[in-house]
Subunit: 371 residues, 2 copies
């Protein structure tokens, strides 16, 4: 999608140096557009852990490129099995909740495990990383086309004198969380392109404000009408008929349709349910963990540094500053995700189509994962 | 309650200058303790509008002292009816949602309307303002004793090896929102004083962060264990059994038990209901608007400046700084309150005792308001 009128992706190989991966370092958005060079596995691990890149699909691609860089930089005489295992472990430790991490790593492991020559390993890993990346773009686009059908359905039922579709989203499941188009935002971009009057309520999404910083930035850059709200506001808007639908992303989806997504998603789902507002999750199949059934009981929720709650970063007019929001001596805790039970979800928008959030419907759409 | 070991109230007459009202200017908490002198009606109006003072009971007292200052500063030959009406209008315009504003003003109007001599008017107004203030302290204390019974009930049902009571609160309905003790915090202070092991989950409460700034500050100063969380976090905690009860305040309560409180309260009530967590509202009768029945339809929700969402204030290590959180050109909207329907509320803790959130129970406790 576009930034300052120029089309970008979130991750790409350096055009002149194939051993370098480039990313948009998202920590400085929306105040600065910083492109970062990543040359090693450790660079990639840091970029994922410290959220230079974030968003489930983007993390998956970054991890795959991380495996590639580990191989590129390895000695020809390496113990390849050992190296691959260690690289995978390093990457897996960066963000415990996102299933896409494992997805990206496993894809590289699957195509390299039987190889023994460095050239072959490097080539296979790069091919896999590129493939995951292109597949992710294609899946996002498909999610857009399926989600757009939902938007058109809602539009048909709206009065002729009020054809603005108000869509609320939480966190950033936009193109900056993916490679391009986004998951939750893909139907929005498509609707906008097709001339539908969409307006997005952007949850700021504390503590890291991915909504206020990143979703707002990408919508603004692409010309989509939007309004930033605090995370507390969605319930009030829904009570007053100001939200036509909610679309959020997912970091991990169970085979029963429970969804682990950014902390606070569950609260919005409760309000949507209470007010009869359709609540959809844009869930590419790469986010589905087919091994688990009970999201609340089984998904490990990442606890991040409490400083992310106590401090905040913003633009003081001259530079990016960190400020303290709380008494210095008050403790804080920082859970990064929560789990929205399937019963509150109107449907999952996958790359293959829309299905209800339950095992029967999900495995009907993905029969290869039937037990 | 105590700050740096010294007992304070939030508003008081200057000990040496009876024509001056002093307050803690809460805009600088927790980073600085600033005492402000208010000498005129306009000073009071500004202090309420710009939230030097905030919290429903404190606003009620401040408004009454505002009426007093208007009279103190008036010419002896004033048209008193006109002056009182204009002063009331100025004060009423400052914060549209809080019913306590009207409560404080009406009390002064009731005792001054029939008077015509400046001395008598000033004396009556001051007496009324002092009375509202002392009554508020007494009501807060009573709410504490009634709420403490609930805490003891929960304690009895907890396993003997886990006797920590985890109470979640939203915004600041603490002593800094009142005159002393607080409403929602009063049972907590009392339980702590009685040796109960209480721990408070403090919602930061965006956009103005009254939780992270003020509730955390007062709990820290008084030695109550607490942890600051983002507003997104409560649902997750409740899903995992980490919240024993919720107590919040109210800015306006309908005679049917609907509660207008800080934006986001409704979302916490939904999560409490979904997880079987008791959800109580500390509701002094001064917060009850006996004229309305449908909170969502009838309570005007204050829309504040969008800059409060886009900017945030914090401590940069040397001074208090404002920083921008969003793209400069993205719009934001700032609703200050939402309405929690009575059906989600376990009970109202009033100064007379605890009742269910419905008209029958509420008017049984306050029979003078039966129709």
């Amino acid at each position: 999608m576009q930034i300052n009128g120029i089309p970008y992706r979130t991750i790409w190989l350096h055009p002149a140096q194939p051993n370098c991966v480039q990313i948009i370092d998202q920590r400085w958005l929306p105040h600065k557009l910083v492109i970062e060079d990543l040359n090693t596995l450790e660079d990639i691990a840091t970029a994922i852990r410290d959220m230079h890149v974030r968003g489930a699909p983007l993390i998956g691609s970054a991890a795959a490129y991380g495996m590639y860089l580990a191989l590129v930089n390895a000695d020809r005489q390496s113990d390849w099995k050992n190296l691959l295992d260690n690289s995978a472990m390093t990457l897996m430790a960066t963000r415990p909740t996102a299933v896409n991490l494992a997805f990206g790593i496993d894809k590289v492991m699957a195509v390299t495990g039987h190889l023994s020559e460095k050239e072959d390993l490097v080539k296979a890993a790069l091919k896999a990383a590129n493939q995951i990346t292109e597949e992710s773009v294609a899946h996002c686009y498909s999610i857009g086309t399926h989600g757009f059908v939902l938007i058109k359905d809602i539009l048909r039922k709206k009065p002729k004198d009020n054809q603005t579709i108000n869509i609320l989203t939480h966190c950033n499941a936009g193109w900056l969380a993916c490679i391009d188009y986004g998951t939750a935002t893909s139907p929005i971009y498509l609707a906008h392109e097709q001339g539908v009057d969409v307006h997005v309520w952007v949850d700021e999404t504390r503590p890291r404000n991915q909504g206020a910083r990143i979703t707002a930035y990408e919508l603004l850059q692409h010309g989509i009408p939007h309004t930033i709200i605090t995370d507390n506001t969605g319930g009030h808007l829904m009570q007053h008929g100001l939200v036509d639908m909610i679309i959020v992303g997912t970091d991990r989806t169970t085979r029963t349709g429970d969804v682990a997504n950014k902390i606070g998603t569950y609260l919005k789902a409760l309000a949507a349910y209470d007010n009869g507002v359709p609540f959809y999750v844009a869930a590419p199949s790469s986010s589905i963990d087919w091994n688990i059934r009970d999201g609340v009981a089984e998904i490990a929720i990442e606890e991040r540094n409490a400083e992310e709650v106590k401090m905040i970063q913003g633009w003081d007019g001259k530079e990016i500053k960190q400020v303290l929001l709380t008494p210095q001596d008050s403790p804080a805790i920082n859970y990064a995700f929560d789990v929205t039970p399937a019963r509150l979800i109107s449907g999952l928008i996958t790359e293959r189509g829309i299905c209800e959030a339950n095992e029967l419907d999900l495995t009907a759409m993905f029969p290869e994962f039937r037990e």
